[in-house]
Amino acid sequence: MMSRADHLKGVVLSLILALILLFSWQYLTESNSIQSHDISAENREYEILMGHTQATQQPDHNFPSPRQFALEAWQELKAPFHNTSTNDRGIGWQLGASLYRVIIGYGLAVLVAVPLGLLLGQQPILRAALNPFIQILRPISPLAWMPIALYTIKNAEECGIFVIFICSVWPILLNTSFGVSRLRKEWLDVAKTLELGWARRLWLIILPASAPTIVTGMRVGLGIAWLAIIAAEMLVGSSGIGYFVWNQWNNLSISNVILAVLLIGITGMILDTTFAALQRRVSYAE
């Protein structure tokens, strides 16, 4: 365990790092704009001939400085849930759309993978029979499923959900069956001598005993789901934070792209922290 003082030092250090990053960002974007003014007379003439005058030069075309970014991000964050048209929806609305897809797809994955994992964990023959299929399906990139999903499902929304499902189901399934297969025989013997029925055995022994590995699987699965949904929305979405990133890139609104990327990271972190807390709750020392 870290002491309080060490913890504080860590916090101070990461604040310093953040400041350094901010200042180098400021420095790099500023020198960029100075360079554009520092051109020779012939080049300036050429620039004018090409239509690149001060008037046509838009600040958007350069990588935004922290100040520009903050201003534009504030504009976007002021009305995060506005919804005027497909191409003009607030970033909060888009984030919500992504989260909604993840909840549905990931929820389905948990509903399928946990019971199936519990079954496989207790049936070594079934586990051996299904293992080759799982091992082949597991390493497939979620995006590789996209054409097949689009062809069979024919609905962009459901495709996104399917991609989430198919990529988060494997870690949950494998971890659950691994956790259950490693149950101590003694615990099951206790359940037998206490004449516990299957439901009580599941609820009182098997689930709490394998909960730490199951939650680890769920945590990994959710991380993958959050990675996959961004890419999937870039491909087929008409909403969602992934679609927003791509749309703002097409608008050349780099500030909004940075804002969205930051929000993706923060949301991912919040999701992961939630599961880390859950993991601490269900873990036990032997």
């Binding site: 013997d189 206790v190 206490l194 709490p208 909960a211 032997e286």
Partner: protein
């Protein structure tokens, strides 16, 4: 009828028990026959590999014999059940539950309809028996080996089994702790006139606890070498026993049996 009153039916009968793991190998043990009377404390002593634990597991219903019969109360043992409580070698407590919850789980299994307060009272009662009232909210990982084994004993007693099965329950404990828990166990067993079948390596432990000692020959193909009645009176105590008449003779007898190669 007269005969029955004088010699009541034993609680447990083991008849011609044999266990063979693979077809072409010799059996681990064979021709094992003994009985346990109600209220009796029987210890089985023998070297490792003679199949003591297997015999206990067959009595618990966790393993199946190759041939022979085991019965409790006149009914053949077909599987594990609440009429037999088991204290496992490695305590087998649920590490995610507190001491209280571990015992309460067993009580609830025995009395599914019991109200919550009664379960709690009963739990506290059995933890008091093993002097663990101070640790009821701790988890097994926070307890010493002796305390864990005490929880295991409390859990086994809490289901008020007809037969208590103990597989080297004190094997992993230091001598001092072992002595204290032996005293506690002896106390509870006399108070409740509990029938116990216990496996041990420890001669002194066996002489202190057991009314009858079953000596096993070395495996494979182990069998019962001898069944010894403990000549010492039933109110034995750890501090007095080695002064009692007959103690050293019995100890020598068992020691001789264990050190001499026997087949």
């Amino acid at each position: 009828m007269q005969n029955r009153i004088n010699q009541p039916l034993p609680l447990v009968t083991v008849n011609q028990l044999e266990k063979q793991y693979t077809k072409n190998n010799p059996s681990v043990f064979s021709d094992i026959s003994f009985s346990i009377a109600r209220g009796e404390f029987v210890c089985m002593i023998g070297h490792s590999g003679c199949g003591k634990s297997t015999i206990l597991n067959i009595l618990a219903g966790l393993e199946v014999a190759t041939s022979g019969q085991v019965s409790i109360n006149g009914h053949a043992i077909k599987g594990p059940g609440l009429d037999r409580g088991v204290v496992f070698q490695g305590h087998a407590l649920m590490p995610w539950l507190t001491v209280e919850q571990n015992v309460a789980m067993a009580i609830r299994a025995r009395h599914p309809a019991m109200p919550r307060e009664d379960v709690q009272k009963k739990t506290e009662h059995y933890l008091e028996l093993v002097n663990l009232t101070g640790a009821i909210h701790k988890r097994p990982a926070e307890l010493s080996g002796g305390m864990r084994q005490r929880v295991g004993i409390a859990r086994a007693f809490s289901t008020t089994p007809e037969l208590l099965l103990m597989d080297e329950p004190f094997g992993a404990l230091d001598a001092l702790t072992r002595g204290v828990i032996q005293d506690e166990l002896l106390n509870i067993c006399t108070q409740t006139s509990q029938t116990v079948f216990m496996i041990t390596h420890d001669i002194d432990e066996a002489i202190l606890l057991a009314d009858r000692l079953v000596l096993m020959s070395t495996g494979p193909n182990a069998h019962i070498a001898e069944i010894v009645e403990n000549p010492l009176p039933k109110n034995r105590s750890r501090t007095e026993i080695h002064h009692q008449e007959g103690y050293s003779d019995l100890r020598k007898h068992i020691m001789d049996f264990l050190v001499k190669p026997n087949k």
